[in-house]
């Protein structure tokens, strides 16, 4: 049995017939071919798969595509505007906040959500808020620096 799922991904309305067990991350990567969202653990631990659903960050490996029916989904591919990186993406680049880059899409999506809720976060808040995102390379230090800088840039 398949069901029809419609959602808005990065501003574009998309409809696909999928099996009900299709995860949102599978929908994005396999049905839409948008591979910016990564699968690290597939067990709700690592946060590599974080996207925004109606403005809040969720682990797209732990939500069915069907649950996002009618929702507005934003992935890392939807952040840059007119060829210009989002301030948080730019801050990650400037601060050398990535090495292999595998965790980066999820880190950036979580970081933007945390800044939306805490426009002027302390370093402690940033570290605490990134609890759901694991990085095996950087040791987090530059990621925290980047998020602080990105927050400042987002405040304008």
């Amino acid at each position: 049995m398949t069901i029809s799922v419609t959602m808005t991904v990065n501003g574009q309305s998309v409809t696909r017939d999928v099996e009900p067990r299709t995860l949102l991350v599978q929908f994005l990567r396999e049905n839409l071919g948008m591979t910016g969202t990564h699968v690290g653990c597939d067990t709700s631990q690592c946060g590599a798969c974080v996207v925004h659903v109606n403005g809040t960050s969720v682990k797209s490996c732990t939500i069915l595509a069907a649950q996002a029916q009618g929702a507005k989904v934003t992935t890392v591919e939807g952040l840059a505007q007119d060829g210009k990186l989002h301030p948080m993406q730019e801050a990650f680049r400037e601060n050398h906040a990535l090495q292999c880059g595998f965790c980066t899409p999820g880190m950036i999506m979580s970081a933007i959500d945390l800044v939306q809720r805490n426009p002027n976060p302390s370093e402690e808040t940033v570290r605490h808020e990134l609890e759901g995102n694991l990085c095996r390379c950087t040791g987090y230090h530059n990621i925290v620096k980047a998020v602080m800088a990105g927050a400042q840039a987002m405040r304008g």
Binding site: M1, I3, E19, P20, R21, L23, D42, T43, S44, Q45, G47, V50, T56, S57, V58, K59, T62, I63, L64, A66, Q67, Q69, S110, D113, L114, R117, E129, E131, G132, N133
Partner: protein, 265 residues
């Protein structure tokens, strides 16, 4: 994950009907426990009945001495609610300490209680405050709800609709989190309520339980010192790779004292 059928009813009656007519149906709330379970193929329901389309199950109301939280209300909504923070700050803090931000954006109070994981946070607050669990069929007192590890008083097809917390004079919650998962290794929810002092211990035993000896001591004197010397039997504690039962029994005393201090502000 095995294949299943997916339904998103808009009313409680339809949800109950859909589950009743499924071969082996399960309700889906935040999915933060159920979907990982399905991925591991530890369960293979024929049908998932998504409760998130039922408007009446969502939301927070504070009135007449109680805080009522709808079953599909996310942990993040409880943590951020100005009304909950004012009425029962310990409850908002508890919700804000569950897992990580992404888990809190999906996970729900109804799902947490129905699941009754021994390491879950909400059972501490529900038992510690003497809350009432409203379901599609009846009202269940907290003291009768948690019946064992992953076991509750819920019957097949019964839906938690909301949870009503009486506002206490003061309350405090402290958990010793597992450093990797943030699940509870030992938690204590201590409250001074209109009906006396309640102490709920979660994370430590097969399910949340009341510590009657601590309640009696705190009724005499509501201070951390009153708990000095009170021992907890390791025989009733969980013993796993995260902590031995002796260690958990010791932590119960330490964490309960901290919870009293938190309640005293």
């Amino acid at each position: 994950m095995y294949a299943f059928n997916y339904h998103r009813p808009a009313s409680l009656a339809d949800a109950a009907k859909l589950l009743g007519s499924a071969t082996d149906g399960k309700f889906l709330a935040g999915g933060q426990t159920l979907l990982p379970t399905l991925k591991q193929r530890l369960a293979s329901p024929s049908d998932l009945v998504d409760l998130n389309g039922i408007a009446e199950l969502n939301g927070i109301t504070v009135s007449g001495g109680s805080v009522t939280i709808g079953a599909t209300t996310r942990h993040a909504a409880v943590a951020a609610s100005a009304e909950v923070k004012k009425a029962i700050p310990a409850l908002a803090a508890l919700a804000g300490g569950i897992g990580d931000p992404q888990v809190r954006n999906m996970g729900t109070i109804g799902g947490s209680l129905a699941n009754n994981d021994p390491a879950a946070d909400y059972p501490g607050a529900v038992l510690g405050l003497g809350a009432t669990i409203h379901t599609s069929k009846r009202k269940i007192a907290a003291d009768d709800f948690f019946t064992g590890m992953f076991e509750t008083a819920l019957e097949e097809g019964e839906i938690i609709t909301k949870v009503e917390f009486p506002i206490p004079k003061r309350a405090g919650y402290v958990k010793f989190p597992n450093p990797a998962s943030r699940y509870v290794m030992v938690g204590a929810f201590v409250a001074e309520t209109a009906n006396g002092v309640r102490v709920a211990i979660n994370g430590a035993g097969p399910c949340a339980f009341r510590h009657k000896e601590m309640e009696a001591a705190l009724a005499k004197s509501f201070s951390a010192d009153a708990l000095k010397g009170i021992k907890t039997d390791p025989g009733s504690m969980n013993n796993d790779i995260h902590a031995s039962s002796e260690y958990r029994a010791h932590l119960v005393g330490v964490i309960a004292k901290r919870a009293v201090q938190a309640a005293l502000g």
